[in-house]
């Protein structure tokens, strides 16, 4: 039934390791082009087995530099790696400068690595959808581990929990105040804490502080996030960092937590997609709804308030008609 002959040509090319086919399929998924759905459908059953490791943390803490070194480590372990690095899009022009690739120093001939930059393109659900699809495409193309660098905003990107099987939260020394502002969400998403720039003063203290905080909030399922100190210049702690991620992946398998997490992630994904589809359809319908114009006139004239107008427009949809 699902033999290779039945697959769309582009899906087959991806399975055969055609790098340009993979690159194009990722673009189609990002742009949500019609061909993307067919490829995703054809390949889905073959995915869901490899670790997807999220690397998140505030701007400039060294996420890309760490990924560069993690890739080297994974290649030493003879594992192939797909990387997805997300940077923000300008809310005004939609444009973006994607600069994470600057830190990527892999030899141009190593076919065991595939690096893809991605712009966040507005809504959070959109990045998540494109990232998930890109990760699945990379897995189908044969990559053993997927690393995802989240957009380096002022905050930790909580959405990574809905994509990654393991999440590394990267922080730097002198992060006392930062941890205070980040703490909401921080401990729920961190499977591993990384104190990078350990070459700078204050790293020991930061690590101790974090360990204490982690001790206070042990998570359900029995995993307590280890705190690893790293530096990328000169490199140190990279092996330990990967070992900590690997230990978490083994924990997922041993305890059955992997299935629990995956079920939750897939549920979020489906709901996000439904919301996106319904929202789009609704916007389109409203654009041409004569009732909207009439209600709007009355809202502008202040004879009814916006909520009353919205309730009236939403009523048929909310009632399921």
């Amino acid at each position: 039934m699902t033999g290779p002959a039945r697959l769309p040509a582009s899906a087959r090319a991806i399975l055969e390791g055609d790098r340009r086919a993979l690159a194009r399929a990722i673009s189609e998924a990002e742009d949500d082009r019609p061909g993307a759905a067919a490829v995703a459908r054809a390949l889905y059953a073959r995915t869901g087995k490899v670790p997807i490791v999220g690397i998140t943390g505030p701007l400039g803490v060294g996420k890309s530099s760490l990924i560069n070194l993690l890739v080297n480590r994974l290649r030493e372990l003879d594992r192939t790696v797909g990387i997805i690095a997300v940077d923000p899009s300008s809310p005004y022009t939609g444009g973006s400068v994607l600069g994470d690739r600057i830190r990527f120093e892999r030899s141009a001939t190593d076919a065991g690595v595939f690096f893809r930059s991605m712009a966040s393109r507005g809504e959070a659900g959109g990045v998540a959808a494109a990232t998930r699809e890109a990760a699945r495409l990379m897995e189908a193309a044969g990559f053993d581990v997927i690393l995802v660098e989240t957009v380096g905003s002022g905050q930790v990107d909580v959405a990574i929990r809905n994509i990654a099987t393991s999440s590394v939260v990267v922080l730097v020394p002198h992060l006392g105040d930062e941890v205070q502002t980040l703490k909401a969400g921080l401990f729920e998403i961190a499977d591993v804490f990384c104190v990078n720039k350990a070459d700078l003063p204050g790293a020991d203290l930061a690590r101790r502080d974090l360990r204490e905080l982690v001790g206070l909030g042990a998570r359900a399922g029995g995993w307590s996030a280890p705190v690893v100190a790293t530096s990328t210049q000169p490199p140190s702690g990279i092996e330990e960092l990967w070992n900590a991620v690997d230990a978490h992946e083994q924990f997922l398998d041993k305890t059955g937590q992997r299935e629990v997490d995956e079920r939750r992630r897939l549920s979020v994904e489906i709901v996000e997609r439904v919301r996106g589809e319904v929202g789009r359809a609704l916007s389109q319908r409203l654009e041409h709804d004569p009732e909207l114009k009439g209600l709007l006139d009355r809202v502008v004239a202040r004879s009814i308030d916006p909520r009353t107008a919205a309730d009236r427009l939403a009523r048929p949809v909310a009632r399921g008609r």
Partner: protein
Amino acid sequence: MPLHEKDAPIRVLIAKPGLDGHDRGAKVVARALRDAGMEVIYAGLRQTPEEIVRAALEEDVDLIGLSILSGAHMALFPKVLQLLKREHAGDIPVFAGGIIPDEDARRLRKAGIRAIFGPGSSLEEIVSTARKLARTAQ
């Protein structure tokens, strides 16, 4: 059909082959292209032709912009074009910027570099040419 299909942003790789250590010009161009709504993959300094072509393929760009000051353009630019062809990606248009003498520019155009911008070029000119090249290639 998805609403945003028509306006999928142009993806462009900006890279700086060669050994010179200044990328101010390349960064200015990268920002101008971003401000024009493009997604600019900025690969940084001292890229080999092999690295540039690899990045272009993995990032599935519509367009490649190369910047150079060191004078090695006659060796490096044709090498990029040649590697692109070898990877069956000769359809990705390449433009260039830098200090390039007229005679060299003529030869590079003949070799397949689609547009060349000297130090006096305006950003508007670069942006509109980049857009035209990307759209005709798609």
